[in-house]
Symmetry: C2
Subunit: 146 residues, 2 copies
DNA sequence: ATTTTTTTATTTGTATGCAAACGAGTATCG
DNA sequence: CGATACTCGTTTGCATACAAATAAAAAAAT
């Protein structure tokens, strides 16, 4: 018999049963697949910023951060590196002196075009162990807990 | 009609439909919940290392890294910070001069005991939007793609 | 027994990721 | 109009996360 203090029922904690651990593992595998498939030394985050920018450009830096679920400090670093590589441009907004207006460059468009197929393949390979029904289910469950 | 080069059917890429984005979002929410619930300024990674070490101690640094799915460079940083805070000790193995033998300290055990309930609550709150059946399904699907 | 391979730990470099604090510009409301 | 609140971008500090190179020790192969 285990000794317990009044009402203090100690619960067990098994790391390999926790949802956080599975989320981290799955993310790791996805990132690894991405790194293998994408040639241009683009990270998942950089790719997210580029592809989302293509959807909504021109837009401000903070807005792009919100759309890609990145912190203001994080999106700044990502944008800085992409700008340094000439994949996007940053211009001060004329009507709002705070805003940095982001736009894809020619090279940015090319980089996207060059990697779209590979990026879609990444999603495909990540979900390869699942059936079509399971894939839809997984996405739906992840959306619910996001 | 869109112009295409021979056989090059351009596919669309929508960030908000990709599995990688959902995984990242869900992980972010989980980490945020953890940070809110855990008082001792422990991160998810540090908690993973501590709780796993309790399961398998004593063990080497690399072994703990493998068990917690951390890179050798990552686990070193985590172990260093935990050692600096006095939550675990590192000793050279007598029989194998390469190995760093890790063990929880008294404070380490206390920190775990102090936060086990909260850590379990983190998993609970993360999965709160899901039914019991959905939770089991999600874990199973994540396991399959890990 | 010597060579080869593996394993373990360390270090460096690059890239997220978030909290917190800051300054500057804009909007709001009394 | 003027005080207040909010937004945008920046910077710093800390903590993962992984690739790659190094070094030392141990194990395996010949």
């Amino acid at each position: 018999m285990e000794k317990k203090k009044a009402g203090a029922a100690p619960r067990d904690y098994a790391l390999h049963e926790q949802i956080g651990f599975f989320l981290r593992q799955a993310s790791q595998r996805h990132v690894a697949i991405f790194a293998n498939r994408i040639g241009d030394k683009l990270t998942t985050t950089q790719w997210a910023a580029l592809s989302k920018l293509k959807e909504i450009q021109p837009c401000s830096q903070n807005q792009l951060g919100r759309e890609t679920a990145m912190d203001v400090a994080t999106i700044k670093g990502v944008v800085d590196r992409l700008a340094k590589r000439g994949l996007l441009t940053t211009l001060r907004d004329e009507t709002d002196a705070r805003r940095l207006v982001l736009s894809l460059t020619e090279d940015g468009h090319k980089a996207i075009a060059r990697n779209v197929d590979a990026a879609l393949d990444v999603s495909e390979e990540t979900l390869k162990p699942l059936t079509t029904a399971e894939r839809m289910m997984l996405v739906e469950l992840l959306r619910k807990i996001s």
